[in-house]
């Protein structure tokens, strides 16, 4: 359909252009904003592929959470970009090598899939999706594969994230002695009996504490 083609080229162009802008923008905050635009239009490309569940996950996880924290950190940092740019010529060959390697990988994969189809067709999630009864939504297809065939990998990925989270907390947690903290439970359990003392001082005399 013509509309789909227009949508594809529009979103692909936005993805590429904003990807380029991420590395070329002078202001780091602008870089992150372009990164978000790039994520967002990639999500649009997923929708065009019929993978609406993945598209929404991309938006929720990357755009809605990860990129917010990115932006948060970049806005707080005072990055001196002139200093960063000094190393540009020095790191250029290495960067070019990595980019070239990635490009070759992608070309090889696309070519192979286009001519020979995906490897080990029966194992791949896409094949499960194809073999699934018609009308099964792709959320259901992914769920079936993820929680049956790949359940150990899924659990392992969860464990890795858990360990990373615990590590981050351990690294930043400091117990300072002598800090008064609010104990909500104590406040909730306080009653007039424990919180107040009724006294009747005589005139001319104070209360000794």
């Amino acid at each position: 359909m013509a509309l789909q083609a227009i949508a594809f080229y529009l979103m692909a162009a936005v993805t590429l252009a904003s990807g380029l802008a991420v590395v070329s923008a002078k202001n780091p905050v602008h870089s992150v904003l372009f990164l978000i635009a790039s994520f967002f239009s990639s999500a649009g490309l997923f929708v065009l592929l019929g993978a609406e569940f993945l598209a929404m996950l991309l938006v929720v996880v990357y755009v809605g959470a990860v990129a917010v924290l990115f932006l948060f950190v970049v806005m707080m940092l005072d990055v001196d970009f002139a200093q960063l740019r000094q190393g540009f010529a020095r790191y250029m060959p290495l960067g070019g090598l990595i980019a070239g390697g990635l490009a070759i990988e992608m070309i090889v994969v696309s070519y192979t899939v286009a001519t020979h189809g995906a490897a080990r067709l029966n194992d791949t999630p896409m094949a499960m999706g194809k073999g699934a009864p018609l009308g099964m939504s792709n959320a259901e297809a992914i769920g079936r594969v993820l929680y049956t065939q790949y359940v150990y990998f899924f659990q392992a990925a969860g464990m890795v994230l858990l360990v990373a989270m615990i590590g981050a907390i351990v690294l930043t947690l400091r117990h300072k002695p002598g800090v008064k903290r609010q104990v909500i439970m104590d406040q909730v359990l306080r009653t007039p009996k424990t919180g107040m003392r009724m006294v009747s001082p005589k005139p001319g005399e104070g209360i000794d504490a």
């Binding site: 905050v29 904003l33 609406e52 929404m56 996950l57 938006v59 755009v63 917010v68 939504s137 959320a139």
Partner: protein
């Protein structure tokens, strides 16, 4: 119908649908803002807006005119492009999220399979308008407001996500229209009582707190009092919106109220049966397929509107009654109370779905 399947026809058809939802929505929002101010005033024993039009009902339109004709000021040192982009992003996302909202039987612009995820995703993007606005203003108070809102909205999204998962588990689908259809037949089938009538009634113990958590997280997500820390007047003047005036401020304001209305509507759709009446509606069955089916749709729309206004009223009451949270208390509530509670609820609902028989 041939013309409507061509690209141009499709475009016209879709734009028409969008206008058909957006224009009444904006009108309703105008009156909701008036209602919000009247409720706020009523609680404080004031009169509230009462000058423009009878009982002041046209106050919002007067405000609109005032905002539109004011001068647009961009502060010196502001990042002009991002400064002006921020309110546009806010309002686009706020209005765009209505695309997946089922308004009545058959009345939805885009009936997508992952509708609930779409709404969740778009509402999680709403934070960008605020962060970008606060940062681009190049001023201390807006920046503090932006940072606060970033942390706050990301925190409360987590618990909203888990609450939404409990509803998805109950309904077995992520399509909002199907979620509403499964709650048909009376209030005992609503998700807040566990869905599926008496059989799932034990789940009400889990789902009623989930409804409450969703309501409160919705307040935090839309930066409403008692969680209005990004724009806390007594601390940050007006938070992220200080440097804004004129139309950009109007857009922020509009986006905020559109989001509040959406959250109220979402509460109605997810927990209170959406466009289903609280009683069995067999009297409408005969209308389907005849020329009168719009009457049944209108019936549904009115039901949804009543529920949405009810939740909005609760929202306004909370705003006028509850004092603002302190920032650490806000974080504690989100991470130490709502997150564990909703996580346990997900496990309980999933367990019930597997071992508690059909649902």
């Amino acid at each position: 119908m041939d013309f409507w399947t061509t690209p141009i026809g499709w475009l016209l058809w879709t734009v028409g649908q969008i206008l058909l939802v957006t224009v009444p929505l904006l009108l309703i929002i105008a009156f909701l803002i008036y209602g919000d101010r009247k409720i706020f005033a009523g609680v404080q024993m004031r009169k509230g807006p009462n000058v423009v039009g009878p009982f002041g009902v046209l106050q919002s339109f007067a405000d609109l005119g005032k905002f539109l004709i004011k001068e647009l000021i961009v502060p010196a040192g502001a990042d002009k492009f991002v400064f002006l982009l921020a309110p546009l992003i806010s309002v686009t996302l706020a209005l765009g999220s209505w695309a997946a909202m089922p308004l009545a039987p058959g009345w939805v612009i885009s009936n997508i399979n992952v509708g609930i995820l779409y709404l969740f995703a778009v509402s999680s993007l709403g934070v960008y308008g605020i962060i970008m606005g606060g940062w681009a203003s190049n001023s201390k108070y807006p920046f503090l407001g932006a940072l606060r809102s970033a942390a706050q909205m990301v925190s409360y999204e987590v618990s909203i996500g888990f609450v939404i998962i409990t509803v998805i588990l109950l309904a077995g689908t992520m399509n909002l229209t199907s979620i509403v259809e499964k709650q048909a037949g009376g209030f005992w089938n609503w998700n807040i009582l566990g869905g599926a009538g008496l059989h799932n009634l034990p789940l009400a113990i889990v789902m009623i707190p989930m409804g409450v958590i969703f309501f409160i997280s919705g307040l935090a997500e839309t930066n409403r009092p008692p969680f209005d820390l990004p724009e806390a007047e007594s601390e940050l003047v007006a938070g992220y919106a200080i440097e804004y005036g004129s139309t950009p401020y109007l857009l922020f304001y509009l986006a905020e109220f559109s989001n509040i209305t959406l959250m109220s509507g979402l509460m109605a759709v997810l927990f209170l049966g959406g466009w289903q009446a609280p009683w069995p509606t067999h009297y409408l069955d005969g209308l389907w397929g005849t020329g009168w089916s719009w009457l049944a749709s209108l019936h549904g729309f009115i039901m949804l509107a009543i529920k949405t206004f009810f939740v909005f009223f609760m929202n306004a009451m909370v705003r006028s009654v509850v004092p603002r949270y302190r920032y650490d208390q806000l974080m504690r509530l989100g991470w130490k109370v709502f997150l564990p509670t909703s996580l346990v609820a997900v496990v309980l609902v999933a367990g019930w779905r597997v071992y508690g028989g059909i649902g």
